[in-house]
Subunit: 457 residues, 2 copies
C-alpha cells in the first residue's frame, strides 16, 4: 500500500487511530478461525464520517476494507483476505440510548454484548440472542453476522431484534434504515439486507435493537438416553406438544464419553443427553412445561432424568453442556467447530450421519447443539501440523455440508459463511439465488472494496 494512502488514512482517523506496525498487522491477520491474511494497515474509526471518508478513499484507490468487531468470527469473516485495511470499530463503543418503555436501545457497533447485558440488567430487560462469545463479541459483529445462541428456538436470533441501522455504503454515503418502532411495513426491508451480510455491503455504524423482558422464572432438567432414536423422538414429541423450551440442548455419545474421560463431571454412559430449560413469569408456568417435557422423556425411554431443585442444581446440570467444548478440545491441538442446521425432525439423521462421516476419516469428534432449532455443532479435533489430518478434516467437513444440504439444511445456523464456507454456498443456494446475491454485491460495491472474498460471491 502506497505511503501516500497510509498518510491520508492516518489524517482521517488521527495518528493514534492508525497503525502499520508489524505486530499489529500480524494480530489483525487473524480472527477466531483457521484463516489468516496480513493487512497493509489497521484503523480505528470513531464515527460514521470517518468511515465514510475511508470508504471514499478506498473506492478512489481500489484497496480493500475489512470491517472488524472483536474478531471472534469462526469462519474468517474478519480476516482481511485481500489485504488492504482492517477497519476496527471497537472504539465506537458507546451505548447511545436506553428506552425501556419503547423496548429499544441504540448502540454503537463496538459495544460488547456482555456490557450491554450488564447495563440492561437493572431494568430487567435483555438483548436475547446470547452468542457463546458474548463476553467479548460486539453488537456490530452480531448484526453483521446475524449471530445466534442457544435460546434461539424460543427467542430467535439477532435478525429478529435489529429495528434499524446507520450504514455507511461502500461509496461513502451514509443512510438510516428501519425505525425505532416495534413494527413497520414501509418500503423495502433495507435493515435485513445488511444484517448477516458480513460487512460486504456496508459498514454498520449504529444499531437500534429491540429488547425483551428477562424471564422471571426458569426450570432446568437433564435426561440420558441409551438410544439416539429415542432422544430424537423425544425432541420431536416436545416440538409437537405445544411447549417451546427456552433451551433444548443435545449432546451425542461422543460428547458424553469425552466428558466422562476428560472432565470431573460424573455422568452415566449414554447415546444422547438432552439438557432443557423452560421459562416464564411464574414457577407454576415453568413447572407445567417441564412436567410435559419429562413425561415425553419417560415416554421415549429416557434412562435417567435429573430435575434441578435449586439454582445450584441447575448450574450443575449446565456444567456438562458448558464443559463439552473445552473437554473435547483437549484431544488434539486443533479443532474445527461447525454450525450446520437442519429441520428439527432431522436432528437424529444429522447426528448419526455426521458421526459416520467423521468416524470414517478416523478423527476424534463430538457433536452437541441446539436441538430446539436444529442447529448442531460437530467439533472435530486434529493436528494442524499433520497434512494428512488436515486433509481428512477438510474432507469430513465437506461431506458434512453435503449431508446437511441433502437433509434440507443450511450451512450455517449462527456462525455465518466468511471464507470457511464460501466454496460451499452453491450446495445450499440455487444458481439464481447465487446470481442475485452477486448482483446485490455489484450494485452496492461495484469496485468490490468491502470485505472481498467472503460469502462465495
Amino acid at each position: 500500500m502506497d505511503e501516500e494512502i497510509k498518510k491520508a488514512l492516518s489524517r482521517i482517523v488521527g495518528e493514534e487511530n492508525f497503525t502499520d506496525r508489524l505486530i499489529d498487522l500480524v494480530t489483525y491477520s487473524y480472527d477466531a478461525s483457521d484463516h489468516s491474511h496480513r493487512p497493509d494497515a489497521a484503523l480505528w474509526a470513531l464515527h460514521a464520517d470517518q468511515v465514510s471518508q475511508i470508504l471514499r478513499l478506498a473506492n478512489e484507490h481500489g484497496f480493500p476494507v475489512t470491517p472488524r468487531g472483536a474478531g471472534t468470527s469462526l469462519t474468517g469473516a474478519a480476516v482481511p483476505a485481500g489485504g488492504g485495511v482492517v477497519l476496527d470499530l471497537c472504539r465506537m463503543n458507546r451505548i447511545l440510548d436506553i428506552r425501556i418503555a419503547d423496548r429499544l436501545v441504540v448502540v454503537q457497533p463496538g459495544v460488547v454484548y456482555a456490557d450491554l447485558e450488564k447495563t440492561l440488567a437493572p431494568s430487567g430487560f435483555f438483548f436475547p440472542p446470547d452468542p457463546a462469545s458474548g463476553k467479548v463479541c460486539t453488537i456490530g459483529g452480531n448484526a453483521a453476522t446475524n449471530a445466534g445462541g442457544l435460546r434461539g428456538a424460543k427467542y430467535g436470533v439477532t435478525r429478529d431484534y435489529v429495528l434499524g441501522l446507520q450504514i455507511v455504503l461502500p461509496d461513502g454515503r451514509i443512510l438510516r434504515t428501519g425505525t425505532g418502532c416495534m413494527k413497520s411495513a414501509s418500503g423495502y426491508d433495507l435493515t435485513r439486507l445488511f444484517v448477516g451480510s458480513e460487512g460486504t455491503l456496508g459498514v454498520i455504524t449504529e444499531i437500534t435493537l429491540k429488547i425483551s423482558p428477562r424471564p422471571l422464572a426458569t426450570t432446568t432438567a437433564c435426561a440420558m438416553f441409551q438410544d439416539l432414536r429415542n432422544a430424537g423422538r423425544a425432541v420431536s414429541d416436545i416440538m409437537h406438544s405445544g411447549i417451546i423450551p427456552s433451551v433444548l440442548e443435545v449432546l451425542d455419545s461422543h460428547a458424553v464419553r469425552v466428558l466422562r474421560d476428560k472432565s470431573d463431571i460424573v455422568l452415566p454412559e449414554g447415546e444422547a443427553m438432552i439438557l432443557t430449560e423452560t421459562d416464564g413469569c411464574t414457577e407454576g408456568e415453568t413447572a407445567y412445561q417441564m412436567d410435559a417435557i419429562i413425561r415425553l422423556f419417560r415416554k421415549n425411554n429416557a434412562a435417567e432424568i435429573q430435575l434441578a431443585r435449586s439454582s445450584e442444581e441447575a448450574e450443575g446440570l449446565w456444567r456438562a453442556r458448558k464443559a463439552v467444548g473445552s473437554a473435547a478440545a483437549k484431544l488434539r491441538t486443533n479443532n474445527v467447530s461447525e454450525d450446520v442446521t437442519i429441520p428439527i425432525s432431522r436432528v437424529p439423521d444429522l447426528l448419526t450421519g455426521v458421526a459416520a462421516i467423521v468416524a470414517r476419516h478416523g478423527l476424534p469428534f463430538v457433536i452437541f447443539g441446539h436441538a430446539g432449532d436444529g442447529n448442531l455443532h460437530p467439533k472435530i479435533m486434529f493436528d494442524h501440523s499433520d497434512p494428512d489430518q488436515v486433509r481428512k478434516v477438510q474432507q469430513a467437513v465437506e461431506e458434512i455440508f453435503r449431508l446437511t444440504c441433502s437433509l434440507g439444511g443450511t450451512l450455517s445456523g449462527e456462525h455465518g459463511i466468511g471464507l470457511a464456507k464460501a466454496p460451499f454456498m452453491a450446495l445450499e443456494h440455487d444458481p439464481v439465488a447465487m446470481d442475485l446475491m452477486r448482483s446485490l454485491k455489484r450494485l452496492l460495491d461495484p469496485k468490490n472494496i468491502l470485505n472481498p472474498g467472503k460469502l462465495g460471491l
Copy 2:
C-alpha cells in the same frame, strides 16, 4: 393491449384462466382502498412456470403485471395503476406441507389465512400475525405486504415467520430463498428482501412459514381512563414492568363516544379505554401478568376496571374493540383508515396530535389501535361526493403522516405503502435510503413491469 398479446397470455394459463370481460376488468380495478385503475386483462396462474412465462412476455412487450391475492389492500397495492395485467394468485391455494415437528408449513400464495388457521387448529399450532382481514386475505398477500395484527407486540408480524420463498423474478427466472430451518446465517437475506416489497420485486409462488403453539390460557381485562395522559402512563408502566401482554389495545375518547352513540354496547364515558389480554400455558401465568397490569391501571387512576371471569365475559370485553370500526363507519358514507406507528412511549402524543389535526378539519373520526407496539388506526369519516370533505381528509392524512414522522414513527405499521402513501415515503426515509430502494427496483425490474407506481419508487 394488443390482441396478439392477449392470445399469448390466454395460451399460457388456458382460456378458463384468462379474462378481458368488462365486468371482470371493472372488478379488478379495485382493492379495499379508495384507488382504482382498469387493467387490460386478468389472469389466474396455477403454477410458477406460468408466472414465469407471463413475466417473460411482459418484459418482451413492456406491459405491467400487478400480482393480487384477495385484494384486501387498504393502500391500493393491488390496483393495476399502470394498466396491463392483473395476475390473480388465488387459484394457487393448496397447503403443500404441514410439518409440526419442524414447526413449519409450506403453502401456495392463494391460501386464505383463515383456511390455514382452521387446518392447523387440531395440532394446537397457528401462524400468529392474525391480520384483521384474516377471514379472506391470502398468505401471499400477507407476505407481500408484511401484514400484522393486534398481537404484534408479543408475536411479531409476517416478516418474523417467513422462513423461505419461491419467487419468480421479473425476468422470469425462478429462485428459492431461505430454508426450512428455524435459523440460518448463510448469505444475504433474500427472503426479507421480498417480504413487504408489495409485489414490486418478484411474484411469490410458494411460502414456507414458521408456526407457533397456540397459548393454552388467556385472561382478558378492560380499563377506562378519564385522562388520556394517565392511560399513556399506564401503557408505559406496563412496558417497563417486564410483562408483554398479548393484546394491549387503546380506544380514544371519540371511539368510546361512537360506541356509546352508535352501538348497543354499554360503556362509561372516558378519555381512553384499554383492552388487554395476557397468555401462557397456565392460568397462574396469565393471572400473574394480569395482576401486575391491573395494579398499573390502578396506579394510573383507571376510573373503571373490568376483569373477565369467563370466556363469555372476555368476549363481551372484546365486543367494544371489534365494533368500533363499523360503528364509526356509520357516521359518513366513506372513511380512510390509517396505520401510523410510533415508538410506544409516544402513543399519547400521537393520540392528542391526531385528534387536534382532524378536529381542525372538522371531520368525524375515531382512533384505536395497538398500544403495545405503537400502531394506531386513525379512522376519518367523510363523504366522497363532497370535494371539500375529500380535500380536508387528504390534508388531515398528510398532516398525520408529518406528525408521525416527526415523532420518530413510520408511515405504516401493517397496511403497507401501495399508492396511498407513495407520495410521503421521503418524509420517513432519507434520500440515500430512497435511492437505494430505487436501485434495488431497477436492478431486479429494469423495465418496471412489476406493479409499477407503488412505494414511491
